[in-house]
C-alpha cells in the first residue's frame, strides 16, 4: 500500500485540492466551452457575485452574458439592468435570444440608490439575474449583495473599471476582459472553487453577413467615399468628440 503523503491526501474524499474544480455549484453555461471548463459548475455561478472588469468599455463584456441571459429569460426568469451606461439595443438583444419581455430597466439617481435597487431586485427575483454598473461600491455593500444573491439563488453581474482589480472584493468570480482581434481574452482573476486562469479566448458574434462581404473593401472612406455625389472633404471629420 502506498503510504506517501499525496496518496494519503487522495484517500480523503472530502478534501478539496487546488487543481480540482468544484462541480457541484449551481451554474449557468456561458456558451463559451473554453471558459466553462475553467469555472466551477461549468458556467456562471448562480446565487453568487460575479465581477466583469473590461479593459475598456466595448471589450465584449455584455455580449459575453447573452447566452446566459437568453437561457434565463427563456425560463421566464427576470433579468434586471440597474443603471446601464447606455441603452441596451432591443433588436440586438432579441437577435441574441434574450427575451425582452423578461428584461427590466431600472434608473436611479445616486450610487446609493443604485445598490439599494440591486438588493431589492435580488430579493424580488428568486433565481434571475441582476446586472449593475456600481460606482465605487464599498466592500460591505458588495458583501450585502453577495448574501442577498446567495439567499435568493439569483446571479449578480457587476461591471467595474479595470482599476477595481486592485481592490479586494467578496465576489466569487472576477474576470478581466481584453479585446483582441475578432474577440477578446478573458483572465480569471479570482474564482472560488477553482484556480485563477489567464488568456481564455472568447469568440464574438461576427459582424453582419451583409456587411461581411464588404469587409475587405472596407477601406476608410476617406480614400473611397461611398457616394461620390455626397462628398464634402472639408466636413468629413468635423467636430470634436463630445
Amino acid at each position: 500500500m502506498d503510504t506517501s503523503l499525496p496518496a494519503a491526501v487522495r484517500s480523503i474524499p472530502d478534501l478539496w485540492r487546488g487543481h480540482q474544480v468544484m462541480h457541484d455549484v449551481a451554474a449557468l453555461p456561458t456558451g463559451q466551452p473554453a471558459l466553462d471548463r475553467r469555472l466551477p459548475g461549468h458556467g456562471w455561478p448562480m446565487g453568487a457575485l460575479t465581477e466583469l472588469l473590461p479593459q475598456v468599455p466595448g471589450s465584449g463584456e455584455f455580449s459575453l452574458l447573452f447566452p446566459a441571459l437568453a437561457r434565463l429569460t427563456a425560463q421566464a426568469r427576470w433579468v434586471v439592468l440597474v443603471d446601464p451606461p447606455w441603452v441596451p439595443y432591443p433588436p440586438a438583444l432579441h437577435g441574441n435570444g434574450v427575451d425582452l419581455a423578461h428584461l427590466l430597466l431600472v434608473r436611479t439617481s445616486s450610487a446609493a440608490e443604485s445598490l439599494w435597487a440591486c438588493e431589492q431586485a435580488l430579493h424580488g427575483l428568486q433565481g434571475g439575474a441582476v446586472l449593475a454598473w456600481p460606482d465605487q461600491p464599498s466592500f460591505t455593500r458588495l458583501r450585502r449583495l453577495q448574501l442577498a444573491a446567495r439567499s435568493t439563488h439569483a446571479a449578480v453581474f457587476l461591471f467595474r473599471p479595470p482599476e477595481a482589480a486592485a481592490i479586494a472584493s467578496p465576489a466569487e468570480l472576477r474576470l478581466r476582459l481584453v479585446a483582441s482581434g475578432d474577440g477578446s481574452h478573458v483572465t480569471v482573476l479570482k474564482c472560488r472553487g477553482a484556480r485563477p486562469a489567464g488568456q481564455i479566448p472568447i469568440r464574438r458574434t461576427p459582424p453582419a453577413p451583409t456587411m461581411l462581404h464588404r469587409a475587405d473593401a472596407a477601406t476608410p472612406p476617406t480614400h473611397r467615399p461611398p457616394r461620390t455625389d455626397d462628398t464634402a472633404p472639408g466636413r468629413r471629420a468635423a467636430g470634436p468628440v463630445h
Binding site: 473590461p54 479593459q55 475598456v56 468599455p57 466595448g58 471589450s59 465584449g60 455580449s63 447573452f66 421566464a76 427576470w78 447606455w86 441603452v87 439595443y89 432591443p90 433588436p91 440586438a92 438583444l93 432579441h94 437577435g95 441574441n96 425582452l100 419581455a101 427590466l104 430597466l105 431600472v106 434608473r107 439617481s109 440608490e113 431589492q120 431586485a121 430579493h123 424580488g124 427575483l125 428568486q126 433565481g127 481584453v178 479585446a179 464574438r204 459582424p207 453582419a208 456587411m211 461581411l212 464588404r214 469587409a215 472596407a218 477601406t219 476608410p220 472612406p221 476617406t222 461611398p226 455626397d230 466636413r235 468629413r236 471629420a237 468635423a238 467636430g239 470634436p240 468628440v241 463630445h242
Partner: protein, 473 residues
C-alpha cells in the same frame, strides 16, 4: 341546524381608544375624554395614567385639570365613534356573515353559531377576536349567549352562557345593574328591594308591565329568548377610510410607522373579511397648518400587510415634514375583488415563474414611476427610433438583429474618424422621408485605439458628419 349563538363585543372605551391608539402603550400622557352633561363639560373616560392621578368619570373638566396639570382633555366625537364601529364591523365580518352594529351601545353583535366549525368553540373565537382588536388599539369586552340581549348582558361580565341550556337560570345570579335599565327603572326596582336579575325574572309579567312599562317586559322576553329578536345585518362598504389622531403630534417621520402599522392592520383585516383587495391607497397627514398626502399605487390588487408596510416605508423615507403630524388618515377609495395567487404545493418552487409585481411596487415607491421600465423594439430602420421604454409585463416584439451592437447611445455623438480602424461596412440606412425625420447614413464597424469595437455612421442628411452610435460590448 346549528343553534344560534350570539357574540357581543362592547367597546366601553371607544372614544379613548380612538385618541390613544396612535401611541405606544408606554410613555402615554394622561388623557381624558369629555362630554357635555347637564350643560357642564365633564370627564366621560380617562386612561390609566390619569385615573391613577385621581381623575374619574363624572368629574367636571375644570376639576380634573386642577388635579392633573398636563391632562389632555378631548371632547368625544360621536361621528368618529360611529365610523369606527363601521370599520370594526367590517373587521369582524371575517368571522361571521351576520354582523349587527348597535351604535347607541357601542356594541357589535356577531352570530357565531354557524362559524363554530371554522373557528372552534366560542371561547377560543372570542379570545382571538379580542386579541386582534387589542393589536389594533381597541379594548373590547365580549360575551356569548343564545340571544342577542343575553349576549350583551354576558359581555358586561365577560361570560359565556351555554346555548344548550335555558338562559334564565344562567343569569339569575347577576346583579340587577347588569340589565339595561333607564334612569327611572333602576332606582324603582332597587327601592322595591330587588338585587339580582333572577328576582326580577320571577315576578309576574303583567304586574311588571304595569309598573315599568311593556318595553321592559319585552326586553326581558328577548333576553331569555322567549321572544324573537331579529337583527339588521350590516352591509359591507365600498371604500375604506380610517383616521388616527396624534394628540401630542409626531415630528419624526419614522415614528409614524407605528400608527401606520395599526391602520394597515385594520385595512388588511377588513380586506380579508370582505375578500377584497386594494390597488390604490392614499395617506393624508394633517400637520399643524397644512396637509400633505402620499399616494401609493400597486401593480396588482393586494391585501398583504407586509407588502403595503414595506411600500409605505419607502415612501416615508422620501417624505419631509416641517411641522408635527396631528392626524393620519388612511383611505382606500375602491375595494377590488381579490384573486388569490396559487401557491406551490411542494417547497422549493424555484423553477416556477416569479411575479415581478411586488418588486415593481417597491422600486417605484422609491424611484418613481419612470424609474423602472421594460424595453420594447419598434419596427424602424433608424436605430435611435427602434426602441422605446414600455410598461413591464406588456408584450413587445421586434425584428432580431444579432449583428447590431448591444449598446446604443441615446443621442449619437459627433466623433473623429482619424482614431478608428475600419473593420467592416458600410451599411446604408436611408429612410424616414414620410415623417420629416429624413436621414441618409452609412454605418461602419470600427475599432478605436483602445480596442473598443464601435458602431459609427457617416451622415449625409440632414447634417453631414461622423457620429458614434453604439458599442459592441
Amino acid at each position: 341546524m346549528a343553534t344560534e349563538l350570539w357574540l357581543a363585543l362592547q367597546f366601553p372605551h371607544l372614544a379613548l381608544d380612538l385618541l390613544c391608539r396612535g401611541q405606544r402603550p408606554r410613555g402615554r400622557a394622561p388623557m381624558a375624554v369629555s362630554a357635555t352633561v347637564a350643560r357642564r363639560p365633564s370627564i366621560v373616560d380617562c386612561n390609566p395614567v390619569a385615573a391613577r392621578a385621581g381623575v374619574r368619570p363624572g368629574l367636571p373638566v375644570a376639576a380634573a385639570q386642577a388635579l392633573v396639570a398636563d391632562l389632555q382633555v378631548h371632547p368625544c366625537e360621536p361621528a368618529a365613534e360611529a365610523a369606527a364601529l363601521q370599520r370594526l364591523a367590517a373587521f369582524a365580518y371575517r368571522y361571521s356573515s351576520r354582523v349587527t352594529v348597535l351604535a347607541a351601545h357601542c356594541t357589535l353583535l356577531l352570530e357565531i353559531g354557524a362559524s363554530r366549525r371554522l373557528f372552534g368553540p366560542a371561547e377560543a373565537l372570542t379570545q382571538r377576536l379580542v386579541l386582534e382588536l387589542q393589536r389594533l388599539g381597541y379594548h373590547a369586552r365580549a360575551g356569548t349567549a343564545a340571544s342577542p340581549e343575553a349576549a350583551q348582558l354576558a359581555a358586561r361580565h365577560g361570560r359565556h352562557l351555554d346555548p344548550g341550556r335555558p338562559i334564565g337560570p344562567q343569569v339569575c345570579e347577576l346583579p340587577l345593574t347588569s340589565l339595561r335599565l333607564d334612569s327611572a327603572q333602576g332606582p324603582t326596582l332597587e327601592n322595591m328591594g330587588f338585587r339580582t336579575v333572577g328576582e326580577v325574572m320571577r315576578l309576574p309579567r303583567k304586574a311588571l308591565a304595569r309598573r315599568l312599562g311593556t318595553e321592559f317586559v319585552d326586553y326581558l322576553d328577548r333576553l331569555t329568548g322567549a321572544r324573537p329578536d331579529p337583527q339588521t345585518s350590516w352591509r359591507p362598504p365600498e371604500r375604506f377610510e380610517s383616521a388616527l389622531d396624534l394628540p401630542t403630534g409626531l415630528h419624526n417621520v419614522q415614528a409614524l410607522l407605528f400608527p401606520l402599522r395599526r391602520l394597515f392592520s385594520e385595512l388588511c383585516g377588513v380586506l380579508r373579511a370582505l375578500d377584497r383587495a386594494v390597488q390604490e391607497v392614499s395617506i393624508h397627514l394633517r400637520l399643524a397648518h397644512d396637509e400633505t398626502s402620499i399616494r401609493m399605487g400597486l401593480q396588482q390588487p393586494s391585501r398583504c400587510e407586509e407588502h403595503l408596510q414595506r411600500l409605505v416605508r419607502e415612501h416615508l423615507e422620501r417624505l419631509r415634514v416641517r411641522a408635527p403630524v396631528r392626524r393620519i388618515t388612511l383611505c382606500a377609495p375602491t375595494l377590488l375583488p381579490y384573486a388569490a395567487r396559487q401557491g406551490a404545493l411542494w417547497r422549493g418552487g424555484e423553477d416556477r415563474p416569479v411575479s415581478i409585481d411586488s418588486l415593481l411596487d417597491r422600486l417605484r415607491a422609491r424611484l418613481g414611476r419612470d424609474g423602472v421600465s421594460a424595453l420594447a423594439g419598434i419596427e424602424d430602420h433608424r436605430p435611435e427610433r427602434s426602441w422605446a421604454a414600455r410598461e413591464p409585463g406588456t408584450h413587445a416584439a421586434c425584428t432580431p438583429r444579432p449583428y447590431r451592437p448591444a449598446w446604443l447611445l441615446e443621442h449619437a455623438q459627433r466623433c473623429r474618424i482619424e482614431d478608428f480602424r475600419f473593420i467592416c461596412g458600410p451599411e446604408r440606412i436611408e429612410t424616414g422621408w414620410w415623417d420629416g425625420q429624413d436621414c441618409r447614413r452609412d454605418y461602419f464597424v470600427v475599432r478605436d485605439r483602445a480596442g473598443s469595437l464601435l458602431w459609427v455612421f457617416r451622415e449625409y442628411k440632414p447634417r453631414r458628419g461622423w457620429y458614434l452610435h453604439g458599442l459592441f460590448a
